[in-house]
Amino acid sequence: MNQKNTKSGQEPLYETISQILRHNIASGHLPEGLVLIEGPIAKLMQTSRAPVQASLRMLHAEGLVQRFRGRGYLVGPPNKACVPIRRSLDEFDVEIPEASRSALVVRGTWLRVYDQVEAEIAACQIFGEFRVIETEMADYLGVSRTVARDVLSRLNERGLIRKGASSHWLAGPLTAKTLSEKYELRGIMEPAALRLAADHIDPIQITTLRAQIDQDKLKSAAALDDAFMRHCLSRAPNSALVELIGNNRLLLSAVDKALNGLGLPADTVAIEQYRTLFDLIGARQIEAATEFLREHLREMSHKSLVRLKIVALVPESESLPRYLSSV
């Protein structure tokens, strides 16, 4: 892999998407008035919706697209009256320049590798402290050391690993103290984000979520917590805060996954609490929802401490990837 590709693989995904959209708007492939919705664009680019969202917000700020009385954006500068064209993106010959295409591809493998490593490194920490060996990792994943290094520095940014005194990468141990601190942070940041997000939460989405809980389609506390993050907290118009919240939750959800994998029973009390939380948000009782969230997090913190004790029964997994070595 050459240096240039790695560079473009590192640039934020929304930047790559923005470049593609800019190019197609300028060339007229995407005509004025065309309704741009996240989903179809994400599908075309083979990415998740979050970076598309960010990219559209950016184009809006640049004056290339405008808000209108409907879902999504219209192609065209903010003050110009455009008639909405609602047609499938497939009908337009969207051009993806070669540089952007390879950026998307590189980004794709990089992301796939990253997700795997992130899950493995988060999961190992309940077993103690580990050294992460870069060369072993590159070998294990079948990628270059450059990619391995990029993955590690991203993990470092997200607070999952750190440099030890002798400059080795270290992960863990996840202690009761770490857990308590992370929940304390959640208790500070998430109610604040919910308040900021209040006016940006899509009420239809909340109604759908409530229906899904009633129909038993959302059955785990973890899935509900993800939905709460995606549809409520992420709507806060402060992307730095949203990112901090996301990073802070990483380890917590990894522990959850590890424990659920061991066969811990579903936390029905927590599921009830999410139901109430969504009810309050749906009713736009934001003050009450915020207080309720705070109390819910306090309880979750207590529960997670107890669940961590249970981990002591679990022998260190023999299937730990070989790039992790116990300290």
């Binding site: 811990l264 009390v269 529960k303 401490l305 961590l308 004790k309 249970i310 002591a312 029964l313």
Partner: protein
């Protein structure tokens, strides 16, 4: 055979009814053959005891919840077993003797003036709260029926340390340089860690802000201290079951070690020299009990309640007393003990005759007095409880690797 006949046959003569059986999983603390025989005699069903060591018992109770009906261990094990979802709440209205159970378990101390002790006092794990958590706010449902309990210390050789004197001994003796090379520890982390922590604090090596809930730094310091002592050859090794501990004493391999009742009655010729300490810092206490498996319902659940209620009728408590353990409803136990037995085990009196253990072996000689005295005196001096603390995952892993380097103590 034609189908209709087959069906008719089944209805006419049901298959031989197997005698109903209750499966009890627990440890050798309460699962004694004498207890089982008495229970079977009084109840209308069979009982099978599955006796496991402490760690295996906790592990299997949590991870293999379908293969037992009753779980008997300690309150400190509930943080693991209860939250794994293996158990169901006990309705106190179905426990006939509930009102006669003492305040040590129900309120945290025998009187409101006694100090509860650090760590997992049973009352903090007793009541099932509306959100499914365990706490001390009284509720009509409990996690575990409180039964046998005791306060523990350590055993020491008076030939080395001399007699205790009026001030009592000190936990410091457990890591005393005079006993170098002749010290053994119990392997169970929820117990062993606290024995050495009490010792390290008593001899001034370490201080803990809350010894019942140590921080990661405190655990690291404790483990570093133990490693240093190990390298200096302090330890003979570790033991898993009390008979291993007794064997270490009988073969004169240890001068001081983790130990508790009823081992003091099984020391043979060493009985006069190896003594139960009355530490001036206070005792390390534990509280046992019995819980209902989550899967129980209907008739099986009724059987399980019968068994729980039987535990409080007195005979089981008498057997517990003869091996040095207390029961929660003592007046019922008194009916099944001789006045001499009651006087020695509960009232701290001088033994007016030789006293036997549940197997009929003499374990107390005429004229002996129980170390620490009467029930009220002993349980008023609880320093801390066996505990599964917040950093248990971290501490148990560190402890287990220390125990592994220590190796078993082979008599």
């Amino acid at each position: 055979m034609p189908t209709d006949l087959h069906v008719a046959h089944k209805i006419a003569s049901p298959p031989r009814v197997k005698r109903r059986k209750l499966m009890v999983r627990g440890t050798n603390v309460t699962l004694l053959e004498e207890v089982r025989k008495l229970a079977v005699a009084d109840l209308q069903f069979d009982i099978e005891f599955e006796v496991l060591d402490f760690l295996t018992c906790q592990h299997r109770a949590a991870l293999d919840p379908l293969n037992y009906d009753i779980y008997e261990q300690c309150f400190h094990n509930l943080d693991i077993v209860w939250y794994w979802g293996a158990l169901q709440p006990i309705a106190t209205e179905r426990i006939a003797e509930w009102d006669n159970i003492g305040n040590l378990a129900k309120a945290g101390g025998i009187s409101k003036y006694t100090w509860q002790g650090h760590g997992d006092a049973p009352v903090r794990k007793l009541y099932v709260q509306p959100d499914g958590m365990l706490d001390q706010q009284p509720m009509p449902q409990i996690s575990m029926l409180p039964t046998a309990h005791n306060v523990d210390s350590f055993g020491f050789d008076r030939r080395l340390f001399g007699d205790e004197g009026p001030e009592g001994s000190s936990w410091a003796w457990l890591l005393d340089r005079r006993a170098r090379g002749r010290i053994a520890l119990v392997d169970e982390p929820a117990i062993g860690i606290f024995d050495v922590a009490l010792a390290a604090e008593a001899n001034g090596d370490l201080t803990f802000q809350d010894i019942g809930n140590m921080t990661v730094d405190e655990i690291d310091s404790l483990m570093a201290l133990l490693e240093t002592l190990r390298q200096q050859g302090f330890f003979v090794g570790s033991w898993i079951s009390p008979d291993q501990a007794e064997e270490l004493v009988r073969t004169d391999r240890v001068s001081v070690q983790s130990m508790w009742a009823p081992s003091y009655g099984n020391l043979g010729i060493m009985a006069g020299d190896f003594c139960e300490s009355v530490p001036r810092e206070g005792y390390r206490a534990w509280h046992g009990g019995a819980s209902l498996a989550r899967h129980l319902s209907g008739a099986k659940l009724d059987m399980a309640y019968e068994y729980l209620n039987w535990w409080l009728t007195g005979p089981a408590g008498a057997i517990m007393a003869r091996q040095g353990h207390y029961m929660t409803n003592q007046e019922r136990v008194r009916d099944y003990l001789s006045p001499e037995e009651w006087g020695y085990w509960y009232d701290g009196d001088l033994a007016r005759c030789d006293l036997k253990d549940p197997n009929g072996k003499v374990v107390v000689r005429t004229g002996q007095r129980r170390p620490g005295g009467a029930y009220r005196e002993r349980v008023s001096r609880i320093a801390l409880w066996n505990t599964v603390m917040d950093e248990y995952n971290y501490a148990a892993r560190a402890w287990n690797s220390f125990i592994a380097t220590l190796g078993p103590a082979r008599p």
